[in-house]
């Protein structure tokens, strides 16, 4: 899975990067299932593999000018980016390994019914706010992606 993530950021062709992203998300769904969260694994497959990957592939197809001359994939921030990413990995990894978590060594699993009950009772207000946020995002995306010519024709 980490290999898939590395392939996402290093491959030169952006379509190959998108396919590597799908591999990475699929193996993440497997990790969620291993952690005893089947509902999150199912949502990962539905939302990321089903919706977001297709959306990103569509965007790539719409914007690619032809793969004859692929430009250089990295810009001149590359050394800074390497340093920052390694610093983040090192610091967080060191903190994780050093901390004595003192937790259970075996993963506990929550059932789908319990999660659904919590989602619609205890977390009902964030749930509704997220539905409103999705509506706003859809309207904004339609407004932004509209072509300017259609705008003039409508007037």
């Amino acid at each position: 899975m980490v290999g898939g993530g590395l392939a996402v950021v290093t491959l030169r062709n952006i379509i190959h990067s998108a396919v590597a992203m799908m591999i990475c998300f699929g193996s993440l769904a497997g990790m969620y299932a291993l952690l005893g969260a089947p509902i999150v694994a199912a949502a990962q497959v539905l939302i990321y593999l089903g919706a977001i990957s297709v959306l990103i592939l569509f965007a790539i197809m719409l914007t690619q000018a032809g793969d004859a001359n692929l430009p250089a994939p990295f810009h001149r921030q590359l050394p800074i980016a390497v340093v920052v990413a390694l610093a983040i990995i090192g610091l967080v990894g060191w903190a994780v390994v050093q901390t004595d978590w003192g937790l259970a060594l075996e993963a506990a699993s929550g059932s789908v019914e319990e999660i659904a009950g919590a989602l619609f009772t205890e977390y009902a207000l964030p749930f509704e706010i997220i539905s409103l946020l999705l509506l706003v995002a859809i309207i904004g995306a339609i407004y932004l992606a509209r072509r300017p010519e259609e705008d003039e024709r409508a007037n």
């Binding site: 899975m1 980490v2 993530g5 996402v8 950021v9 952006i14 990067s17 992203m21 990475c24 993440l28 990790m31 952690l35 005893g36 969260a37 509902i39 999150v40 949502a43 990962q44 939302i47 990321y48 977001i52 959306l55 990103i56 965007a59 914007t63 000018a65 430009p71 250089a72 994939p73 810009h75 001149r76 921030q77 590359l78 800074i80 980016a81 920052v84 990413a85 983040i88 990995i89 967080v92 990894g93 994780v96 978590w101 259970a104 060594l105 993963a107 929550g110 319990e114 999660i115 989602l119 997220i130 946020l133 999705l134 706003v136 995002a137 859809i138 995306a141 339609i142 932004l144 992606a145």
Partner: protein, 101 residues
């Protein structure tokens, strides 16, 4: 594998996302890197949910909400990127230098 393995994987994925966001020139690939970072945070949330005994379901619920917010974010982000690419004719972010003095 205990919680540390999952958290280390999560940190690696987040670092890869940061690297991709800062180093790549393609605007769509920067969005994909943001998605990688979202997924890293999601993985750590689900791992804490599985191993922490406190509240049995909070982590899974938060992970689902983060997925919804990520879907909204990528929708608006891709619409913006497509609008910019349509006017600039290039997806390379270091050529968007109109606001430079």
């Amino acid at each position: 594998m205990g919680i540390q393995g999952y958290l280390v994987v999560s940190a690696l994925l987040f670092g890869i996302g940061v690297f991709g966001f800062m180093a790549r020139r393609n605007a769509i690939l920067m969005l994909i890197s943001i998605e990688l970072m979202f997924n890293a945070v999601n993985l750590s949330l689900v791992a804490f949910n599985a191993f922490l005994p406190a509240d049995a379901n909070a982590g899974a619920v938060f992970a689902l909400m983060i997925m919804a917010v990520a879907a909204a974010e990528v929708t608006v982000g891709l619409a913006l990127v497509i609008a910019i690419i349509r006017t600039r004719q290039t997806p390379e972010v270091d050529q968007y230098s109109d606001l430079k003095e």
